[in-house]
């Protein structure tokens, strides 16, 4: 076989690979694009020509005894640009986008023991920061897209699954509502970042939108079965550094000799006693196929995950079903998605802080087996557990039985009808529901020290959330060839309704019958948002693209007068590559400029009566533990709640300028975006002039916040050959938030204390103030001696008035100034090696673990001893110095999220078996002295450690 391989302009393609399928025979084209293959068996063979950046082409050839000429004309692979991206209420081709949208499909997802959906894309998307809240099974994550545009209102992005915008509410008995969705069912993520992309979601879109699409059936006749099984071992990597038993004995004897009689003789490492190596089993089975051309997919998953804290466990069963069908000769398309899940959690007691702070010289068990479960406990002079002392952490874990069960069902039915007499017009309707409930109980036996006085504890809870969503739209698409234009016009209506209910609960003694205290009141919450919306897409000559959208949201949270909020956007893109002067520049395969401006809104100020009806004058009843005595009767009270009749939408205006590029047929591609978000009328829970309202704080539209930044991502196919493939990805985001005003009167001296810290009730470490980053720390500037050690209680007199008492200042910030992600995937024949790493720079953490316990005062409390953090050996502090900037530590880090090694055994008939070994949380490089530098909110206290996880995975396709 001989011939030539040419490109789309009939120019030769040197170095293209031509192979005979099912054999090892092949050749590479020469400088003229010519090739020759000899020694081919006679008969029919399939010849494949392949060149990087071009679509591979196959031809069937009948080989005889003479040479056969086979020429190939390859077309550039614009798959990247023709990729369909899911946007609000529809889809678009990537090349037609005018907004900042990042699309991540299953092949690019993070590997390893991913048990909750958002972990699939951690570190993958520029501008998106995903921080897991703890190392506990099923724990949620805090997702911030470009830092967040609100202060007190929610900074969480809107999450849309298969067309249903989810409610942003928690479920009792479930640590993270998203964990009720099986990551294995997810096909793709589309992250909408700028206002052009998000404004169609109006008031729920200020913090970006994450659209999750789940896997669908394929529609062929074959039944495909995939079985995926993972077994993982989690191990703690580090304990909080505290005094050893011997160091502690010395400290007590020298610092608090009067308490030395309390010292024990044991050497107990309490932290090691509450942690364990923990196993996770995650099995997933999916079946896809088509019944008479009707595609379906069914999947079942079962996860059983132990936490590294003893007794902590999550079991999750999930099922997902999808079916699609075309009716009326293809003009009506019906798509049904059903997802259900059930979790059963066993929650560990809060033993972490107690393990860190428990006296290491005491034994686990006391001599008296009859009391407090036999555990050693600090007692008061009456022989009862000392209520001020820490509790025995092992006792806490073993004596608490806390279980929670969560159920969630999400269903969507989508109908899409193309009018047969007017093919340009289609009508679409989506009906969705999201029903979840959670219930559980906590039981503590009467013997346990933690609830000893009241005789143990038993309480149950129940909560139900319900979201209903409908949307309808009409879309008209028309090619106007005469004027080289294409127009899409779309108009629709969306209605979202949210309801939540908490049953009142009663605590009992361990006998489960004697009530303790009084029952809490049930609570209900509901709100709706209804919204007409419209969008126009116009393209001219395939080069100039215009998108304009508008949404009119009406939220029941605001009074009739302020209910409407209009959220417009406009964006323009220029596909410069299509211009004649760039068309011939071969090295450049894509170049597009984008600019957008739009306004999005915010109304999610939280849950509770005063948040669902902030504008309404209402009276709220007390529970029966907040009655008042008149004569011999106790009267339930009625409180007139504070309200703000003028409350209205928070608005964020976003300007985005972006550039998409591709070189070498997309071998190198990426984008860069500059953004500037200005939020006005911030919904702030703000202090108001005394005496004017029915509380000292109300939620009001006060203040301004700006967020500026750059996000950049680049992907690079370093090697793409027959045996070796290596792809690299990198993204980086520079982001800076600044409060520009938070005062009713514009007074720059207005401050709002935020971010509670331990070490005293009501203490805070953060301060909102105009001109400052919302995550700054409000602290004293520590003075150090000549050896670099902090001088106790000596702070810089910054205003030089002779005293440092009034010299707290705003120092550093908890959010990173720069964050980046880096990933690599290397394939050699059947082997695959990949990793993903992330770095945050310029983020600081308040080491509350050290600050709140780091003084010898901790061994001077009458009647008991508590262990001290190792930092006390350096500081030698006698008293707690909670506000010293000594404890605000640089928490910049580089973390390798995972490294994975896979081997594909290859096809065994039609079957395919793949095995992989994965280590996640491989290492962290940081100067931070505490357990983990990556903690949401900027305060490190009793953090549930993120374990290192070793996972063995098997995947079998049938």
């Amino acid at each position: 076989i001989k011939g030539k391989v040419l490109d789309e302009t009939n120019a030769p393609l040197p170095g293209a690979a031509v192979t005979i399928d099912g054999t090892t025979i092949g050749a590479t084209t020469d400088g003229n694009g010519s090739y020759t293959i000899t020694g081919v068996k006679t008969g029919n063979v399939t010849v494949t020509a392949k060149f990087l950046g071009y679509v591979a082409l196959k031809k069937v050839v009948t080989v005889g005894s003479t040479a056969v000429e086979v020429n190939f004309s390859l077309k550039p692979d614009n798959q990247n640009l023709n990729e369909v991206v899911v946007v609000g209420y529809g889809t678009q081709k990537k090349k037609d986008l005018t907004g900042s949208v990042t699309s991540i499909s299953a092949k690019d997802f993070n590997q390893g023991p991913v048990t909750t959906p958002e972990q699939l894309i951690t570190g993958k998307v520029a501008g998106v920061q995903i921080t897991s809240n703890s190392g506990a099974p099923g724990s949620g994550s805090t997702i911030r897209i470009r830092g967040g545009a609100s202060l007190n209102a929610s900074n969480d992005p809107l999450i849309v699954i298969d067309g249903i915008p989810l409610a942003n509410t928690s479920i009792s008995g479930v640590s993270n509502p998203l964990s009720l969705i099986n990551p294995n069912d997810i096909e793709s993520y589309n992250i909408l970042k700028d206002a052009s992309a998000t404004a169609i979601y109006g008031s729920r879109a200020s913090n970006g939108v994450i659209i999750i699409t789940t896997k669908k059936g394929k529609g062929d006749k074959d039944v495909h079965i995939n079985f995926d099984s993972k077994t993982a071992l989690s191990k703690i990597t580090k304990e909080v550094s505290v005094l050893t038993a011997d160091q502690f004995r010395t400290a007590v004897k020298t610092q608090s000799p009067g308490q030395a009689n309390l010292l024990g003789t044991a050497n107990t490492d309490w932290q090691s006693l509450i942690y364990r190596p923990a196993y996770t089993y995650d099995n997933n089975l999916s079946i896809t196929g088509g019944i008479k051309g009707v595609p379906y997919r069914l999947s079942i998953g079962y996860l059983d995950q132990d936490g590294i804290v003893k007794t902590d466990n999550l079991k999750r069963t999930t099922a997902a079903f999808n079916i699609s069908h075309d009716f009326l000769r293809g003009s009506l398309k019906v798509d049904l998605n059903l997802k259900g899940s059930y979790t059963d959690s066993h929650f560990a007691a809060g033993a972490i802080g107690n393990a860190i702070g428990f006296d290491p010289t005491q034994p686990v068990y006391s001599n008296d087996k009859t009391k407090f479960g036999g555990y050693f406990e600090w007692l008061d002079s009456s022989g009862n557990p000392n209520t001020l002392a820490p509790r025995n952490p092992v006792g806490l874990l073993n004596e608490q039985d806390a279980q929670g069960k969560g159920k969630r069902g999400i269903g969507t039915l989508s109908l899409n009808y193309v009018f047969p007499f007017l093919k340009e017009l289609q009508a679409s309707a989506t009906f969705g529901g999201d029903l979840s409930d959670g219930d559980g109980y906590t039981f503590i036996p009467a013997s346990a020290a933690s609830n000893f006085t009241q005789g143990g504890s038993y309480s149950k809870y129940f909560n139900e959330n319900y979201t209903y969503n409908t949307d309808y739209y009409l879309k008209y698409s028309k090619d106007l060839k005469d004027i080289k234009s294409h127009v899409d016009i779309q108009a629709g209506y969306s209605y979202q309704y949210f309801s939540t209910y908490f049953r009142g609960s009663q605590q009992y003694k361990a006998d489960k019958t004697t009530p303790v205290g009084t029952p809490s009141l049930p609570s209900w919450g509901e709100y709706y948002i209804e919204s007409p919306f419209a969008r126009l897409n116009y393209s001219f000559n395939d080069k100039y693209l215009l998108t304009a959208s508008i949404r009119d949201d009406r939220s029941s949270r605001f009074s009739d007068l302020h209910r409407n909020g209009y959220f417009p956007s406009v964006a323009f893109a220029w596909r410069a590559k299509e211009e004649s002067f760039l068309k011939s520049v071969d090295v450049l395969s894509d170049l597009k400029f984008r600019v957008s401006y739009g306004i999005t809104g915010q109304q999610d100020i939280g849950t509770g009566l005063s948040k669902y009806f902030p504008y309404l004058a209402i009276y709220e009843p007390s529970n029966s533990a907040a009655q008042y005595q008149f004569g011999n009767a106790f009267v339930n009270t009625l409180r007139s709640d504070a309200y703000n009749a003028d409350i209205k939408w928070e608005q964020t205006a976003t300007v985005n300028a972006g550039l998409d590029f591709g070189f070498l047929n997309g071998r190198i591609n990426g984008s860069i975006d500059l953004y500037n978000k200005k939020t006005k009328d911030l919904l702030i829970f703000t202090p108001i002039p005394a005496g004017t309202n029915l509380s000292n704080y109300i939620t009001a539209n006060i203040g301004n916040l700006t967020t500026k930044g750059v996000d950049f991502n680049i992907n690079f196919i370093a090697i793409d050959s027959k045996d070796i493939n290596w792809t690299l990805g990198y993204n980086v985001t520079l982001n800076q938030r600044k409060i520009t005003n938070i005062s009713l009167t514009g007074d720059p001296n207005q401050t709002i204390a935020v971010t509670g810290i331990p070490g005293g009730v009501g203490n805070t470490i953060g301060l909102f103030k105009a001109g400052q980053n919302p995550g700054a720390f409000y602290v004293y500037q520590q003075v150090y001696d000549q050896n670099g050690l902090p001088l106790e209680g000596v702070y810089v007199d910054r205003n030089k008035n002779g005293s440092s008492v009034d010299d707290k200042y705003l120092y550093k910030q908890s959010d990173p100034k720069v964050f980046m992600g880096f990933n690599s995937n290397f394939t050699y024949k059947k082997w695959n090696l990949g990793f993903s790493a992330r770095a945050n720079l310029g983020n600081y953490l308040y080491n509350a673990q050290s600050a709140a316990n780091g003084a010898y005062a901790g061994v001077k409390f009458a009647g008991y001893l508590g262990n001290l953090p190792s930092s006390v050996l350096q500081t030698q502090f006698q008293q707690y110095q909670l506000y010293s900037d000594y404890y605000v530590e640089n928490a910049s880090f580089l973390r390798m999220d995972y490294a994975t090694l896979g081997y594909t055994f290859g096809t065994l008939g039609k079957h395919n078996l793949r095995a992989s070994f994965n280590v996640s949380n491989v290492f962290v490089i940081t100067k931070y002295k505490g357990l983990d530098p990556e903690i949401n909110g900027g305060v490190d206290n009793n953090f549930y450690p993120r374990p290192r996880v070793y996972t063995l995975g098997l995947n079998l396709s049938l």
Binding site: D380, P385, E526, A625, Q629, D747
Partner: protein, 508 residues
Amino acid sequence: CKKDLTPKGALTTDQVYANFANYKGVLAKLYSSFALSGQAGPAGNPDISGIDEGFGNYLREYYNMQELTTDEAAIVWNDGTIHSLHNMTWNSGNEFITAMYNRIFYVVALNNEFIRQTTDAKLAGNGITGDNLAKAKQYRAEARFLRALAYWHAIDLFGSVPFVTENDVVGVFFPKQKSRAEIFAYIESELKAAEADMGAPRFEYGRADQAAADMLLAKLYLNAKVYTGTDRSTDAITYAKKVIADGYSLEPNFKNLFLADNNKSNEIIFPITFDGLHTTGYGGITYLIHAPVGGNMKAADFGINGGWAGIRTTKQYVSLFTDNSGNTDKRAVFFTDGQNLEINDEYTFTDGYAIQKFRNVTSTGAVGSDITGNFPDTDFPMFRLADAYLIYAEAVLRGGTGGDLVTALTYVNLVRTRAYGGSATGNITAPQLTLDFILNERGREFLFEMHRRTDLIRFGKFAGGDYIWAWKGGVKAGTSVSTDLNLMPIPSADIVNNPTLKQNPGYK
């Protein structure tokens, strides 16, 4: 466009006042705002924000203002700027002072709302007639009393404060300050106007009655010179006499006044009530009983599950007693086992004598109703007869007319005889009855009852250097401090929020 949703589990203002059955609940809230932190006992749905819910309780902050700043109490904990109270180094950013201020104006605003909704016209409009109408008017008079009480605390602590009444609508605006004397006059006129509609003395336990109004007037007049520059001792005598004539009697056993069944006492004129099951929170009496228990004290003796090891007293306070054993003067309620008299370290509970006054056990030794041992049944006696006796005596000594020294001595010795367990051995003679004696006697009689700061200021012994106690001014031996501290600062938060406000002298 969809209609308004209606809240479930709550009532709109119109719904509340259309039905008289709701009025008592609103009234109960007006009272409970002194006792509790919010609508969910013990915590969970707070009335005010910006501070820990338990801390933001009215009575807890009033204790902090009136006691922690004096010789009677010093606190161990590390909560925010709490040490600046006893050290007298506070500034306008102090969160406890801010919380007190916010609590006072919360009470004012809440009462304004009720008073606004219960005008004659509104009551008629809502069809409240007959017996209900009479009751509504009485409730309204009690609201005026409670608002006057809060305004009294406001001028006593802060001097000139923003002034809001039922004539201001609920919203966000900038209320103007009125002078201390103007608000003094307002309180006086409000109390006198409300009294006619208030109940007769002791008509119902827990409710403010005419005796409560008279007692508040007596206390207002006693301090009038501080507030207005004009002595009103004669008026103080008039109103003290009215209270004394109302049929109250001293509780024979002093200690019973502070126990879980003190609601039975005929001495208490106006209580803030608490109950271990029904009226629960982390301020008020919970704080007053738990915080002083620590060291070798047995929590069970106090009817609670554990002490908080927070509050103890100075040696200067101890020295008010010639015998601090409690064997003669029963008011010497010191716990000394394991405690040092001297406060060497402010952060050590065992430095300073501990106090065992309020308890959650009854006079017969039974523990209160809450089996968890968290929340006491004990009520707080805000006004009691002994105070009326001592007001009478002090006002006579200050030159007021309408009373006489003989009666004054009789009243003082009634108080002392009760203190000495019915024995006259502690009684004093006429020459011993001096103003200085009265101040010390009030110290002995009302330890932790939240009169101390006001009393010391009236006698010129709070700020300045006339009376020094441990850690006053932030040094162990105590030192003189600026007399500007006789007034608390207007919280900086409100200065920022309300540009019309003027700060008190000496503060930024």
